[in-house]
């Protein structure tokens, strides 16, 4: 028996003393506030206090805590509670998966050092990774832990920094995919290919299934429906359980269900692998005579997208200056701190799957097809999502969980290990990009030619989206009269490349924006002024011929001018440089429908029920959609209750991707709330300007001197059981692209520009970032706290892309060999929120989530070039690559 004090209460456990403390806390004691991100001490999500000192609970044998004090995020300590309030006030929690670890490390510091400096915060929290926030708001929360002076409570009006509505759950230790399962759930473990390409044969599966503790073994032969899924239905090509051969390292080929309480150890599983020749690079995959990964795709080409406008060849011949450039990028891992996890069970004949996701309705439809179920017999309940960034748009373990529960009738659960998550889920596409950009003697861009090859890995995933988005966006937000741009996605036996914040546009921006610096130099123009000269304005046509409205790039660039002038003065050749880069990004699907539907009900007991199907993966949809709905309805956010997302309870609000939720779901919420308001005003016979007030079950409508009271209990329930309700759908209007990529693919674009100041160590090739100044046109700011949180988090990922992140299959399947920025790697960030309202956006608002990552990496490369003169054609710029480039330059 092991006895210790947990948050001041005595607990007694009868466990193997070498059991990880995380496992004991979570699985034996049911305290799920402590999170597990890696089981290796690399991420710090499991940080707890042991006798008053922070440790990673995943590395502590529970036998060692006997007789000692363990304190977790569930502790009632007043100083922890105070820090939680500071986290909420500062927007320091986004998805919430790292939050318990951050809080415990923070409390550890504050108990030693009540008034810490920024450097002390960084030293104390350096062992906890966060992928969402960019750390800056965490630092400010800890440095400003004292209660803020009483200020008027934000009522959630448009433009107010309302703390996130789901924040209390985040700081308490939210319920993620691994945190809930029914009693008696089977525990699933996957058998995965250790090779990039290998044939395999099973041995005696029946004998293995008969082993004690094994409840069942499942292979492709057990799939009742169509064993293919894919985010884009016409390209669906990925099996839930592969048949021989496996096409990438980490591909799932079989599934073992273990009885609860059994160690899910798959050692000895009867399978024989025969490694086959693997096509690792796109060049190998496109070589003449290369075998096809998919029989229907010659040259291993998944798709090619193109945009052709004017005569770029001739325009470049006549251009005064032409720069040719190349750029190569690597696989980039999303590295959310929550590995995929979920559970499944049967409820009244309906299969219920609760798992982390960005796209519940897509999960339902794809999983139903694999399982051969009608969609109404499958219900998806998204768990709290510990970061997604695009990868959790694709189904991962949903079909696996569903299969086992469907076949056995028993509840089950599955939790990916860190290595499994990294090996088996999608990555950012590695890109090889080449082409030319030319301008006239005055510096006006005349033409661009671009050819991009994107390594899409073994299966389609979002490869088609990348191939289509890149040619549309590769000009950057600049007037480019003649364009020839092609991007193709090529299959290899590499990891599946899918969606990752920006769908290929960040890679293309690296190519374009670094060429722009060289062009500006050739013309003899200041790099910022060169961009302002060419910035798209209202009425300009884009590369697809779309005539823009609400073009916000020039205001963003102009907002940087005073900062730029200062930074240029502070620059020092050979040491300190400054760089700038822009972004634009069309919000929503590329010329394809992507409607969102929102329902709002006024319940007979006096609540405003917002059926909010847009998954909040930390970005803040729960809060922003509520603010939009409240503003349109005319009642405060405080009177709203959130329902969902849940495919049984919420209409389809589409996927959380393409920076579409604030815009598309926001418009649906605005329309739904407007319709509900109209119904109320009709009932009260009141005019448009009437004021609403909700008190208990009475709705008061004041129209000038007239007051009308509606007793909600007296109204008959409508088809949803509400006193009054409304449902509205919004689908952004677009015009399909023709064979030359001409059309209006997006209803709305967002814009931004970032300026990076940095210092280079010329001896070691290392970079110290000094400051990032980020101007983003959000159309209309719904919530500044959340908007700046997006900017800071996007910049942190851009820093990783530029300076350290490079996923190598089989080599970097953990969070110490795969490096993401730590709390010491993100410099102070000044956000400038620019508002150029778009008539199409809700209250003028535009999307922001992906835009924020795009300019960071090219601005860093441009700043490095400014400091050193060294050109970079490959990211990440690791120290040895920078030093080599500097020597090559000298």
């Amino acid at each position: 028996m092991i006895s210790f004090a947990l948050n001041g209460e005595p607990v007694h456990l009868d466990l193997d003393p070498t059991t990880r403390l995380t496992e004991a806390l979570r699985e034996t004691l049911g305290r799920k506030g402590t999170k597990v991100g890696c089981d290796a001490g690399d991420c710090g999500a499991c940080t707890v206090m042991l006798d008053g000192a922070q440790v990673c609970a995943c590395l502590v044998p529970v036998g060692r805590v006997a007789g000692r004090q363990v304190e977790t995020v569930e502790s009632p300590a007043p100083d922890l509670d105070r820090l939680k309030r500071a986290f909420l006030r500062h927007g320091a929690a986004q998805c919430g998966i790292c939050t318990p670890g951050m809080l415990m490390a923070g409390v550890d510091l504050l108990r030693r050092t009540p008034r810490p400096t920024e450097a002390e915060v960084q030293d104390a929290l350096g062992g906890v990774l966060c992928r969402c926030t960019g750390y800056r708001k965490i630092i400010s929360a800890i440095c400003d832990v004292d209660e803020a002076p009483a200020e008027p409570v934000a009522d959630g009006a448009i433009g107010q920094s309302l703390p996130r509505l789901d924040g209390a759950a985040k700081v308490a230790g939210d319920n993620f995919g691994a945190d809930e399962a029914l009693e008696g759930s089977l525990l699933l473990a996957a058998i995965r290919s250790p090779h990039p390409h290998a044939a395999f044969r099973f041995g005696d599966l029946a004998a293995y299934a008969a082993r004690p503790g094994v409840a069942g073994v499942f292979t492709a032969a057990d799939i009742p429906g169509r064993n293919l899924f894919g985010a884009i239905p016409p390209f669906a090509d990925q099996p839930a359980l592969a048949e021989s051969p496996a096409r990438f390292r980490g591909e799932c080929v079989a599934l073992v269900a273990f009885e609860p309480g059994t160690d899910p150890d798959t050692a000895g599983f009867p399978i024989t692998w025969e490694p086959l020749e693997a096509l690792i690079t796109p060049a190998e995959a496109e070589a003449q005579g290369a075998p096809r990964l998919h029989a229907s795709r010659p040259d291993n080409r998944l798709i090619e997208g193109q945009v052709i406008k004017g005569d770029s060849h001739r325009a470049l011949e006549e251009a005064a200056h032409v720069i040719e450039g190349h750029m190569q990028t690597s696989f980039v891992e999303h590295a959310y701190i929550e590995p995929e996890a979920g559970s499944a069970w049967m409820e009244d004949g309906v299969l219920v799957i609760r798992a982390c996701t960005q796209a519940p309705v897509m999960d339902r439809d794809e999983t139903a097809a694999v399982l051969g179920l009608p969609a109404d017999r499958l219900r998806i309940i998204p768990s709290a999502v510990g970061g997604g960034f695009g990868s959790k748009l694709d189904v991962s373990l949903q079909p696996l969980l569903g299969l086992v529960t469907l076949k056995t009738g028993r509840p089950c659960r599955m939790i990916y290990s860190r290595a499994e998550s990294m090996a088996s889920t999608t990555k950012r596409h590695p890109a090889e990009m080449t082409g030319r950009i030319g301008c006239d003697a005055t510096g006006r861009i005349v033409a661009l030619e671009f050819d991009g090859r994107f390594n899409t890995g073994a299966y389609a995933s979002w490869g088609p989206t990348v191939a289509n988005r890149v040619p549309v966006h590769v000009s950057g937000p600049y007037r480019t009269p003649h364009v020839t741009a092609r991007a193709r996605a090529v299959h290899t036996h590499g990891p599946i490349s899918g969606a990752f914040r920006g769908f290929g546009v960040p890679q293309a921006a690296l190519w374009q924006e670094t060429i722009y610096d060289r062009l500006a130099e050739k013309v003899g123009l200041d790099r910022l002024e060169f961009r302002i000269l060419n910035a798209l304005e209202d009425g300009d046509a884009t590369a697809t011929g779309q005539v823009l409205q609400a073009a916000g790039i020039a205001p963003c660039l102009r907002a940087l001018r005073p900062h730029w002038a200062r930074a240029l003065q502070e620059a020092r050749p050979g040491r300190r440089g400054v760089g700038v880069a822009s972004c634009w990004y069309g919000c929503g699907n590329t010329a394809l429908p992507n409607p969102s539907t929102i329902r709002i009900g006024l319940s007979r007991d006096g609540k405003v029920m917002l059926h909010q199907g847009a998954t909040d993966i930390g970005q803040g949809a729960n809060t922003v959609i509520s603010q939009i709905a409240a503003a349109a309805l005319g009642l405060p956010v405080a009177s709203f209750s959130l329902i969902g997302p849940d495919t049984a309870l919420t209409p389809d609000a589409g996927k959380t991707s393409a920076s579409r939720q604030t815009f598309v779901t926001g418009r649906a919420a605005q329309a739904s709330a407007t319709a509900l308001r109209a119904a109320i005003l009709r009932l009260a016979n009141a005019g448009d300007g009437a004021k609403l007030a909700l008190s208990d079950t009475v709705l008061t409508v004041s129209d000038g001197p007239t007051r009308r009271q509606i007793a909600l209990v007296d109204l008959p329930p409508d088809r949803f059981g509400y006193a009054l309700s409304a449902e509205a759908t919004y689908d952004p209007p677009t015009v399909a692209l023709d064979e030359n990529g001409q059309g209006s693919p997006y209803a709305l674009y967002g814009f931004g520009a970032q300026m990076v100041e940095l210092e280079v160590d010329p001896d070691l090739g290392t970079i110290r970032l000094i400051r990032v100044t980020a101007a983003h046109d959000v159309g209309r700011t719904i919530n500044p706290l959340l908007a700046t949180g997006q900017i800071e988090g996007g910049i942190a990922q851009g820093i990783g892309l530029a300076l350290m992140e490079e996923y190598l299959p089989g080599r970097t399947e953990n969070l110490h060999d795969y490096l993401i920025p730590t709390i010491g790697d993100v410099p102070p960030i000044e956000s400038l929120l620019i508002e150029v309202p778009d008539p199409e956006g809700p209250f003028g608002a535009k999307g922001l989530g992906e835009h924020v990552l795009i300019p960071t990496a090219p601005a860093i490369l441009n700043a490095i070039r400014h400091a050193t003169g060294a050109d970079h054609t490959r990211v990440p710029v690791l120290p040895h690559r920078l030093l080599a480039a500097m020597k090559g330059n000298a």
Binding site: T19, A40, G63, R64, L125, T822
Partner: protein, 275 residues
């Protein structure tokens, strides 16, 4: 259920170790990664043995094998051990520093072990105890290669000894990686130097993460001796560093980069140690 022992005395630990196949467990920070939810086999937890923690001695310094990095970092030690204390604050994050131990770091024998270069520069010895008795080995004789040490199966590493003669002068540790915290080194350097009448009277330099095991650089140490602080940089040339290290190529950096970076790091560590 696996056997798990958490003895209070070294004698109990040694008699267990002599009686079967026990896996010694110190901080656990290198053993748990890669394991399942519990450890296999028979586990001998050393962290309750009082005599294995803490720093003692007035002549030679004796650091108990289970002394954590945090304890080392906040101990009052002579300037010669400052490099070791700087290294202690760069091992993982604070959570790792609170759990990981100096003895575990040595027994894990990673080429990138942060504790090794400062200890090499201090001419550290390790003390190994077994039912057969106690012996001391110089650190280079203990670290045989990546993940290989001279510890016999029935032996425990009980202490690291810093000889009084080497606790002289100033020291510094510098570590190079591609991010700010949780860095696995591309290269790291420890330097310890004594200055007499404006001249370097003794130098001890060690470089880690550049070769299969961390190494001292005797040729450069000799070249430094007798130089003034101002001219110390001349002794550290890329050619001499390359001869000493034969650096490795891996995903973190190329060999030629390591040579160049190690040279600059040596110059910086020496300059800092001489301050």
């Amino acid at each position: 259920m696996n056997a798990f022992a958490r003895p209070q005395t070294l004698q109990d630990a040694l008699s267990l170790l002599g009686s079967g196949r026990w896996q010694p467990l110190a901080g656990g920070t290198d053993i748990y990664p890669g394991m399942r939810q519990s450890l296999p086999g028979q586990v001998l937890d050393l962290t309750a043995i009082k005599g294995l923690s803490g720093i003692s001695g007035s002549d030679d310094l004796r650091i108990g094998a289970c002394t954590t990095w945090s304890e080392l970092a906040k101990a009052k030690l002579p300037p010669a051990a400052r490099a070791l204390q700087q290294a202690a604050l760069m091992v993982g994050g604070r959570q790792i520093q609170n759990a990981g131990t100096i003895g575990g770091n040595l027994c894990n024998a990673s080429p990138a072990a942060d504790g090794v270069p400062p200890l090499l520069a201090l001419d550290a010895r390790v003390e190994l105890a077994s039912p057969r008795g106690t012996r001391q080995l110089a650190l280079p004789d203990f670290l045989l290669g990546p993940r290989r040490t001279a510890r016999a199966p029935d032996e425990l590493l009980t202490a690291v000894i810093l000889p009084a003669a080497s606790l002289d002068g100033g020291s510094a540790f510098v570590k190079l990686g591609a991010r700010a915290y949780l860095v696995i080194s591309i290269a790291m350097v420890a330097a310890r130097l004594s200055l007499r009448d404006g001249q370097i009277s003794a130098a001890a330099l060690a470089v880690g993460a550049c070769s299969a095991t961390a190494r001292r650089l005797p040729e450069i140490e000799a070249a430094l001796t007798g130089l003034s602080a101002a001219s110390a940089g001349e002794a550290m040339t890329e050619a001499a560093v390359a001869r000493a290290l034969s650096p490795i190529d891996d995903v973190r950096a190329t060999a030629s980069y390591r040579t160049s970076a190690a040279t600059h790091l040596l110059r910086r560590a020496v300059a800092e140690a001489l301050q």
